[in-house]
């Protein structure tokens, strides 16, 4: 192995205090970027969780609907016109809306009601860990997530509360269906959802469309658009994109997360650049000696970049350990930090880019070295 790597490592570890400061700087920076980007990915997933769990190929919605939680309504009679379109196998209404959940003690808390046809095409709860899905067809039956027990004043199946002065009974409990708005989801039948949210029986929030196996989704969509008025017809992925776009960029939440990540990146770059620069300055005599004995510029840059890369790897390992703890700690929270493998790889690349970019100032300094200074120092 070339001595340049040994020289780089020893230069790096020689001043332990400076080395620790560099690593802490990188860890701080990467943890900050990790949290922001992990929140971004978690947020991206959560805002489309309902759309992602629906089996519908196409969503019919009022014109201008911005996201899944949009309260606009459409005429349920459009369903019959949609059913007449070639290639449409099934159309089912989906009703959503906010309601007040009255706890047994009399206090109320807002809930988000999701009502669909539980027997056919709909949006039934998933990850059911207690109770039975079939029981949801019983009048007044609802499903809620276990993480909201305390908030909703219940402790499991069989417990009762009220929504809009109507008695509801918890018959199924799910795990991990959480809303980024922190408002608990309540799953129920479509008709009862209308009753709980005050939506008239001839109205629906969405019409979910399942198409025939041999039909082309784009052709069906085109025909639905031609046959229906005052509605939009989007594929599930288009609707998910629109929801993400609204929540992440329409509200500024995504921009804030990106700004935080950018800030972390800049702070990290400055810290590493400062330490590499001062390390290079301290070893200027050595670099001038290397130049005097005939080393190429590339040899010297490699020494500096190797220092940067070593710092990047060590810093990333530290940040990764902290990041894993943070991911674990937030896994059950309303907005978990998500760290998929692709994001982990991207963060490692970002760390490397940050450290190599930080080496530029040091390299520029070395490029200006006059090798003749070896005779005067």
């Amino acid at each position: 192995m070339s001595l340049k790597f040994r020289l780089a490592s020893r230069n790096l570890f020689h001043d332990r205090l400076r080395f620790v400061a560099t690593i802490v700087g990188i860890i701080f920076s990467i943890v900050l970027v990790t949290v922001q980007m992990g929140l971004y990915v978690g947020f991206r997933r959560m805002v489309t969780t309902m759309i992602d769990h629906s089996p519908a190929a196409l969503w019919i919605m009022p014109v201008g609907t911005k996201c899944f939680e949009d309260p606009s309504l459409l005429d349920d009679r459009q369903r019959f016109r949609a059913l007449a379109v070639n290639g449409v196998a099934e159309v089912a209404p989906l009703v959503i809306g906010y309601a007040q959940w009255r706890l047994p003690g009399g206090t109320t808390t807002p809930v988000f009601v999701v009502g669909s046809d539980l027997q056919q095409l709909g949006l039934p709860p998933w990850n059911v860990v207690a109770g039975r899905m079939d029981d949801l067809s019983v009048p007044g039956a609802v499903a809620i997530d276990g993480t909201y027990f305390q908030r909703l004043g219940v402790s499991g199946t069989g417990e009762s509360a009220e929504i809009r002065d109507q008695k509801v009974q918890v018959v199924a409990v799910t795990k991990g269906i959480r809303s980024f708005t922190t408002t608990p989801y309540v799953f129920t039948d479509v008709d009862r959802a209308r009753a709980y949210t005050g939506i008239s029986p001839n109205k629906a929030s969405y019409l979910l469309v399942r198409i025939s196996p041999d039909a082309d989704v784009n052709t069906v969509r085109r025909e639905l658009r031609a046959s229906l008025s005052d509605v939009e017809v989007l594929t599930a992925s288009e609707f998910a994109d629109r929801s993400r776009s609204f929540w992440l960029f329409g509200t500024g939440a995504g921009a804030a997360l990106f700004a935080g990540a950018l800030l972390g990146f800049i702070v990290g770059t400055v810290i590493v650049a400062q330490t590499l620069y001062s390390s290079t300055k301290d070893h200027l005599n050595e670099f001038a000696t290397l130049r005097a004995i005939g080393s190429t510029g590339r040899y010297i840059y490699t020494v500096i970049i190797w220092q940067a890369l070593t710092s990047a790897v060590i810093g990333f390992c530290g940040a990764g350990a902290i990041g894993a703890v943070v991911v674990r700690m937030t896994a059950e929270s309303a907005l978990p930090i998500v760290m998929p493998p692709a994001l982990t790889c991207a963060l490692f690349l970002l760390t490397v880019v940050m450290c190599v970019a930080s080496a530029i100032a040091a390299i520029v300094q070395v490029m200006r070295i006059d090798p003749a200074m070896v005779f005067t120092r």
């Binding site: 040994r6 000696t289 005779f375």
Partner: protein, 238 residues
């Protein structure tokens, strides 16, 4: 008479800019032949170090010709000059300029490493040269564990390990006591016995005169005298 390993003809060099500019060298010519040890002596500010920098291709002259083993360095870019240095020139500095985080062996091996020689043979060559300068037993020591004289021996080993034909030494005994200074000059004189190698030593130290084959005096940027050593005053190296 051997061919010059290094020669400079009519070198002019200005240092500084504007009103503070001074002419450090005023048409200096000097050659170094294989098998000779030349002393370049002169008072502070006379241009010794500037001339050494130009001869070592660390600095380019305003005018004049520098040739390394007959090849003119005029118009070469910094990378080409660096290649000339690593292939043909060995440097020895007053303050050694060893790498504190590397062992003596690695310090010597560095001169081969920058040439891309990284085999086991390179490591063996470094150990052999350290043995030549009497430091085989200190190969794994760091510079901070060596005396000044030992550090300068390591620096000499680094200068010769790549088989450089021109060894340029700047005040090599300047930081050493009399005994160590003598030992270092003895070593340099031994190196200069090789007919393919020339050693140029810049010095103030009159105690090194007995080791010289030739003494060149420089003052105010000009060579003022050049004299061959008096045989009776020379240290016998045989």
């Amino acid at each position: 008479m051997t061919e010059p390993v290094l020669d400079a003809v009519d070198i002019v060099k200005f240092l500084g800019h504007g009103a503070s500019q001074v002419q450090a060298l005023k048409g200096v010519s000097l050659s170094l032949r294989g098998g000779e040890l030349v002393l370049l002596m002169g008072p502070s500010g006379s241009g010794k170090t500037t001339l050494l920098s130009i001869l070592g291709c660390l600095m380019t002259p305003a005018s004049g010709i520098v040739r390394i083993r007959g090849q003119s360095v005029a118009g070469m870019d910094p990378e080409a000059l660096a290649k000339l240095r690593r292939d043909h020139i060995g440097f020895i500095f007053q303050s050694y300029h060893l790498f504190p985080t590397l062992t003596a062996e690695d310090n010597v091996r560095l001169a081969l490493d920058v040439r891309g020689e990284r085999s086991r043979r390179a490591a063996k060559a470094a150990r052999d040269v350290l043995a030549t300068v009497g430091l085989a037993h200190k190969a794994k020591s760091f510079p901070s564990e060596l005396s000044g004289g030992e550090q300068q021996r390591v620096a000499i080993a680094r200068a010769i390990v790549g088989d450089a034909k021109a060894i340029l030494a700047d005040e090599p005994t300047g930081a050493l006591d009399g005994k160590n200074g003598q030992a270092i000059m003895t070593l340099l004189a031994q190196i200069a016995k090789d007919q393919s190698r020339g050693v140029l030593v810049v010095t103030h130290d009159p105690r090194v005169i007995p080791f010289a084959d030739r003494i060149v005096h420089i003052e105010d940027g000009k060579i003022v005298s050049e004299e061959a050593a008096v045989p009776s005053q020379r240290v016998s190296m045989s």
